[in-house]
């Protein structure tokens, strides 16, 4: 009986220390996470260019200027509307902020061949890539198209928006301007 006393004390202590430690650990983790809350970087995934070349998304580049990444599909009406809306003001935005738009088509084998002609048909001036098996879409955690990301000069995701309603591009422009303001400071 006497022998078991230290064991019990030991057990009590053990659980206590363990609890405190794990609590500390969690606290610290969350504090560190909060303190270090930083923007997600662009994942490195292979997509295809319109002329069939393999291209790694880590190589998307705009020389330190912001990038807009827009996930779309030829059959997605709101996507096409959004890209058309941006196309109308693209030149202005380019001049003002130096932004570059990268349009990622998630069309699969069924419509893949149509993407190039579609982009030309719409007379878009975007850099277009095809993500026909959704690898980049998954890596960027896109649920549905259209899904738009704004990247700062360090290629970190600073803003994103799912779905498109007419006028949404105004918010995107405001976010773009914010980036410019931050840079000035």
């Amino acid at each position: 009986m006497i022998i078991s006393v230290p064991f019990i004390i030991y057990y009590k202590l053990r659980t206590m220390i363990k609890n405190i430690l794990s609590l500390l650990f969690i606290c610290q983790l969350s504090i560190t996470a909060l303190a270090q809350e930083k923007n997600h970087k662009l994942p490195a995934v292979d997509v295809k260019t319109l002329d069939g070349k393999t291209f790694n998304t880590a190589n998307f580049d705009n020389g330190g200027k912001p990038i807009i990444i827009d996930f779309w599909a030829t059959w997605c009406k709101p996507c096409v509307k959004e890209l058309n809306a941006i196309a109308e003001v693209y030149e202005e935005w380019e001049k003002e902020t130096g932004v570059k738009v990268i349009a990622i088509s998630i069309d699969d084998a069924r419509n893949m061949a149509k993407v190039g002609p579609f982009v030309n048909g719409e007379s878009w001036d975007y850099d277009v890539y095809i993500d026909s098996n959704g690898d980049f879409k998954r890596a960027m955690n896109v649920n549905n198209v259209p899904h738009t990301f704004l990247l700062n000069g360090n290629k970190e995701i600073v803003w994103q928006h799912n779905s498109y309603s007419e006028g949404d591009e105004k918010e995107l422009l405001a976010e773009l301007k914010k980036l410019k303001a931050v840079k000035k400071n």
Partner: protein
């Protein structure tokens, strides 16, 4: 107090209510020490790394939940749901740190919503992976998605909204030994709900971009990309009567030539005999050919495609049916529809055999021209047709099945469509889409429906939006489908109001006014509203959903009629 408790415990030990700490405790205390050490190390590491600003990696993911509350509605044929509400959800979590990444997806079906396979039952982690990647090599263990060429003999992918996921669990290796050369190898078992399919799938693929690989060709105007793949599945033959092939191999080759505005792509696949439930256990080999060409320049895009599929269903379990355990992906050439009534009769690829062709032309009439107006006008014309194969049944049709002339088209039409769409912006406030479609749809073949042959329909669509100011837009859709077959004619109206960038609300009604049976001339009304902020989207919709085939990306599922409230939440982080 503590003393008392201690005494109590000691007493309990004596009477044997609590097992005595025995020799086991040595092991436990060792465990404890390890834990302690780990915790301290972790804390130190975190302190150190935050001080040094070391990269701890990132955690990101996405989430969706669909909850549907059901009302019984005998008029539209919606049976009572005993659970009253059903739920489908998933959460993806991915950790990445430099070249390393790992992730998992939790899925929950309590119980699965109507229209999905009931074998999605309960909760689980059907997807988990770890991978590392550098410039030359990428290795993934666990579940993965991959595609060779257009997927004619191999494609694993997921479409959660359709209940489609044929991921392989095993190992994937991707090598880039030289610029322009990609080699891939895969092995694994396929996901089957919360389990695996019976067969094992092995495959390899190689692709070479001649212009990137050979310096001499780098400056050439003509670009050539070649690819080839081999895929084999193994499934034991436990059949007491038939001798079935346990290893079934399939091979494919592809060629892509690009010169200026012209892009030519062709892929051919061959599969050895693969008797299965889908092909009624015939021993005929399968083959498939796809040829597509496009020409495009600013303001003009032309695409032409033709294909032939003969006995190409390829599943990792020969007894599997439906959309499960597919190893390959056979895409349809028909246009993927956006509007509700245009997709009422959506064609789905017939893996047992079909021949099809498609042509599409997009032309943008320039700004400031007579027709184009201030903003230009886009005209899209699409034609597609799919027929059966030319087949001659063999005397012993149970063995080799049939013979087929490669270049001859069979008589029976599976689908045909003419589609003209005009998009025009009239002013900074008014935009419109007009569409006219003529469709022929062989319901008997596509949906194995009895008593219905080919459905001939004419569809007209008007989609008009008016931008009140920078934030507020009102949009209306008017659609009409005229047919004498099946359920007769339909009309649909939709009114949508959006306040950018956060809110939307819509009302719609679909009316089967042309149904021969007067009792079935029903309204399928629906109201919906939603809130969007960043990646978050919350939507509510209440109303009736007609029974029908719901398709995205070439995969279709049958959705039964329902009535009730659907709540959907999606987010990414």
């Amino acid at each position: 107090m503590v003393k008392k408790l201690l005494q109590k415990k000691i007493l309990m030990h004596q009477i044997g209510l609590i097992s005595k700490p025995s020799n086991l405790s040595i092991f436990q205390s060792f465990n404890f020490l390890i834990n302690l050490l780990f915790s301290v190390l972790c804390s130190l590491f975190i302190n150190y790394s935050s001080a040094q600003n070391l990269n701890l990696g990132e955690i990101h993911g996405n989430f969706q939940t669909d909850v549907q509350f059901y009302n019984p509605d005998s008029a539209i044929g919606a049976a009572p749901v005993p659970q009253k509400m059903l739920e489908n959800s998933f959460l993806n979590v991915v950790y990445t740190n430099g070249k390393f990444s790992a992730g998992l997806r939790y899925e929950s079906y309590l119980n699965v919503m109507q229209g999905f396979d009931p074998r999605y039952k309960g909760n689980g982690l059907p997807y988990r992976f770890a991978s590392f990647k550098n410039e030359k090599l990428e290795v993934t263990v666990g579940n993965f998605y991959e595609q060779f060429g257009t997927g004619m003999i191999f494609r694993t992918y997921e479409n959660w909204g359709l209940g489609y996921d044929n991921s392989l669990e095993g190992i994937k290796i991707k090598l880039t030994p030289h610029k322009g050369i990609t080699l891939k190898g895969v092995i694994g078992k396929q996901r089957y709900f919360f389990d695996y399919g019976d067969g094992i799938v092995r495959g390899a693929d190689g692709e070479i971009n001649l212009n990137e690989t050979f310096v001499k060709l780098a400056e050439k105007k003509t670009q050539i990309i070649l690819g080839g793949s081999f895929v084999s599945k193994y499934q034991a033959d436990n059949d007491p009567i038939y001798i079935l092939p346990e290893n079934v191999g399939a091979m494919a080759g592809r060629l892509n030539i690009i010169r200026g505005k012209i892009n030519f792509y062709s892929e051919y696949a061959y599969k050895i005999n693969d008797p299965s439930t889908i092909n009624s256990f015939i021993y005929k080999p399968g083959q498939s050919l796809l040829v597509q060409t496009s020409y495009s320049q600013k303001g003009l895009g032309i695409t032409l495609a033709a294909k032939r599929i003969d006995n190409m269903s390829f599943k990792s379990d020969r007894t599997a049916t439906g959309i499960f355990l597919d190893i390959n992906y056979l895409s349809s050439l028909t246009r993927q529809q956006t509007y509700n009534l245009a997709s009422m009769y959506s064609y789905a690829t017939q893996a047992n055999g079909e021949m099809g062709l498609m042509g599409e032309i997009m032309y943008k009439i320039k700004k400031d021209s007579k027709l184009g107006g201030k903003y230009g006008m886009l005209i899209t014309f699409n034609y597609s047709r799919t027929n059966e194969l030319n087949k001659t049944l063999l005397p012993d049709s149970t063995y080799m099945g049939y013979e087929s002339n490669f270049f001859k088209v069979g008589k029976e039409t599976y689908s045909q469509e003419c589609n003209l769409e005009i998009n025009k912006k009239f002013s900074s406030k008014v935009k419109a889409t007009f569409a006219y479609l003529y469709q022929e749809y062989n319901k008997a073949v596509v949906q194995s429906a009895a008593n219905v042959g080919i459905i001939y329909s004419h569809i007209g669509i008007l989609d008009l939006s008016y931008k009140i100011n920078d934030e507020n837009t009102i949009r209306t859709e008017l659609q009409h489908l005229y047919t004498k077959q099946d359920n007769g004619s339909w009309a649909m109206g939709l009114l949508e109001y959006t306040i950018a960038p956060n809110y939307f609300a819509a009302v719609s009604d679909l009316y089967n006014y042309g149904n021969e049976n007067e009792d079935k001339r029903l309204h399928y009304y629906s109201i919906s509203a939603g809130y969007m902020k960043d990646a978050l989207r919350i939507s509510l919709s209440y109303g009736r959903q007609r029974a029908g085939v719901f398709c995205v990306g070439g995969v279709c599922r049958n959705v039964p009629a329902s009535n009730g409230l659907l709540v959907t939440i999606t987010d990414s982080f």
